[in-house]
Amino acid sequence: MAARPRRRPRVAVWKFASCDGCQLSLLDCEDELLAVAGAVDIAYFPEASSRMGRGPFDLSLVEGSVTTPHDVERIQRVRRLSRYLVTIGACATAGGIQALRNFRDVKEFIGVVYARADYIGTLARSSAISEHVPVDFELRGCPINKRQLLEVVSAFLAGRRPTVPAHSVCVECKLAGTVCVMVAQGTPCLGPVTHAGCGALCPRYRRGCYGCYGPMETPNTAALAAGWQRLGARRPELLRVFRSFNAGAEPFVLESRRHEEG
């Protein structure tokens, strides 16, 4: 008698406030997509399928940040339905670019974009998923790297930790043999404090890293800010560079506050 086939792990993809780019990374795995869909049961992925399966799920990939009262509730339900919960991208991991509201009055923001403030239900802060529920792994990047996404999915389904280095973009530059743009060209670069994962893309295109993968482990942001100042960067610029796609990540919040006016 033939052995009963093993149940395929069930995967869900959830969206909160985001641009959809990180979940699109999964569909951008053109060479691997059908193999992945054969190995796992992509049971809930509304952007790609009208078959919306019910939980529980073995692995939930969560994109986006929490910005509405409804989403505060929804993430609790996602956690309850999921054996493993992995956040994908800067929004889910650090609040995303929309976390810029955390430094301002959200009512003022609503007034700039919308005519009727009373039609908009939104929270004063954009927050990372980990502020609301325990997260099993955070994959960085704005957007995430699709190779790293495949590694994370494979690792969780195999029951091991993903191999995703937490060192800086600098290390990736050295590995790629890219000439340092900051030292050689005097181009300000966030590479020394930014989490690896992109493959040191910007320096390869002769521009400084702008930090879209967020802070590396133990970043020395103050020393880097001083280096930028030696290259002529002034306060408002330093404030802005630490307040972009990972504005809500703690080390970048602290560094940016040091460059506030007044």
Binding site: K15, F16, A17, S18, C19, D20, G21, Q23, L24, L27, D28, E30, D31, L33, L34, A37, I42, P46, E47, A48, S49, S50, R51, M52, T67, T68, D71, G96, I97, Q98, L100, R101, V106, E108, F109, I110, V112, V113, Y114, A115, R116, Y119, I120, T122, C142, P143, C198, L201, C202, R204, Y205, R206, R207, Y210, C212, P236, E237, R240, S244, F245
Partner: protein
């Protein structure tokens, strides 16, 4: 099942980019209310761009949409260059058009194969479709990859490219770096022709739209980055006059502002509009494919938009090949920019895969951005989509609710709405008692 009063409701629209719902209310055999409800949370880009350096705008606005970041970058750089009083031509203009071809190919192919074709063929998704038509789905994936390869090679990566700047690029490719794309694009052009043939045999519901169609028009080429805004009702304006002719309205059921012609008219932007207004600009190869697909006299059935999208993919593959053959690297990767003048205003409108995308920027006294306005295609198309649904439901009230719900969702996907873009989108609720 009664047809007099009922509610059709879709609480979470699948296979669209972003979060939306649909609510339709029918009373006494008449469709009373159609609402495309966009509950995607707002992210306030126009607000937090205030006070940022203009040089940061192309990277920031890309994050409005992971599916069409190039469109946001292109509208931004053109608007900002307009404010600075510089023009970017020659090889840099060519490279921007090539980058846009890449995005049209990947975005349209994603929609054709993964989001829309399953509707016509009765599958929940492309993975299920691949079990019965593996060659078709593999062709779609490889075609999408060819588009993504252009974006990745020129832009650094597929999503949120890092190589676009105001004035040009950070680094431009050599001819040799572009050469490997040629082989892939020649294959892609054949695959795109196959795609036109494949989709033009789908079963299409009958429907004719009479919305005013709005798109860019350029004297020498099928529009992407430049041109005047023209319409089927005789509009012909410079991009800078956008605000005089179009308004946005805030409604309670949507976190996306609704675009309207000033005076209240519904209009539609996107591939249907571009094709109907500009098809004579398409090269013979694409015109011939359009003729074989039965669209040589234009196209008014929104369900045929999947054919139009596949014609545009064919065009973008062909155009990309032409551009690569014509490319000679420029002397500098970007033009020099003057300092921003306080109060200077710039407008830009480019053709995103989903339609015209308008940006306007004003510089403040310290050279940072003082005012920003972004009008994405999906906001502009919401009323036209609601209007399509109203007519579809009214004409098919005899259908069972489940079937009607399916057709409504398919009709929404005709316009490839990008809800992430529009909030600055979908659940179907059909309310019939």
């Amino acid at each position: 099942m009664g047809t007099a009063t009922r509610t059709i409701q879709v609480n979470y629209l699948a296979r669209v980019e972003g979060e939306g719902a649909l609510y339709v209310k029918v009373r006494g055999g008449q469709v009373q209310k159609v609402q495309l409800r966009i509950f995607e949370p707002p992210r306030f880009f126009e607000a937090f761009l205030r006070g940022r350096a203009f040089t940061e705008a192309p990277d920031i606005v890309a994050r409005i949409c992971g599916i069409c970041p190039v469109a946001y970058q292109m509208s931004a750089v053109h608007a900002l260059e307009d404010a600075l009083g510089v023009r970017v031509g020659g090889a840099l203009r060519l490279l921007r058009r090539l980058l846009y071809c890449g995005e049209w190919i990947e975005s349209h192919t994603l929609h054709i194969y993964m989001l829309h074709a399953p509707d016509f063929l009765g599958y929940p998704d492309a993975v299920a479709l691949a079990r019965d038509q593996p060659e078709a789905v593999r062709r779609g994936l490889a075609l999408k990859k060819a588009g993504n390869e252009i974006v990745a090679r020129l832009g650094g990566r597929e999503i949120h490219p890092i190589n676009v700047r105001v004035g040009g690029f950070y680094r431009v490719p050599s001819r040799r770096e572009l050469a490997p794309l040629e082989e892939q694009l020649k294959w892609a052009r054949e695959a795109a022709l196959e795609t036109v043939k494949w989709v033009s045999k789908f079963p299409f519901p009958e429907m004719a739209l009479d919305h005013e169609l709005v798109a860019l028009r350029h004297p020498e080429e099928y529009p992407m980055n430049e041109g005047r805004l023209v319409s089927t009702a005789g509009l012909d304006i410079a991009v800078a006059d956008f605000a005089e002719h179009f308004v946005e309205e805030h409604v309670a059921h949507s976190n996306a502002l609704h675009g309207l012609r000033r005076g209240g008219g519904i209009y539609l932007t996107g591939p249907m509009a571009r094709f109907n207004l500009n098809r004579t600009q398409l090269p013979p190869l694409v015109q011939e494919a359009a003729r074989e697909a039965g669209l040589d006299q234009g196209c008014r059935n929104p369900f045929h938009s999947i054919i139009v999208r596949s014609l545009e993919v064919l065009y973008a593959c062909d155009e990309a090949l032409r551009l690569i053959a014509a490319y000679e690297p420029p002397e500098a990767p970007a033009v020099e920019l003057p300092p921003p003048a306080a109060g200077a205003v710039g407008h830009g409108c480019t053709e995103a895969p989903r339609g015209s995308l308008y940006h306007r920027y004003v510089f403040g006294p310290d050279g940072t951005l003082a005012e920003v306005r972004i009008v994405p295609p999906t906001s502009q198309n919401q009323r036209a989509i609601e209007d399509d649904l109203r007519r579809l439901v009214q004409a098919r009230l005899d259908l069972p609710t489940e079937r009607l719900r399916h057709e409504c969702e398919q009709a929404i996907r005709n316009h490839d709405p990008c809800i992430s873009c529009a909030t600055h989108f979908l659940r179907l609720e059909l309310d019939r008692e």
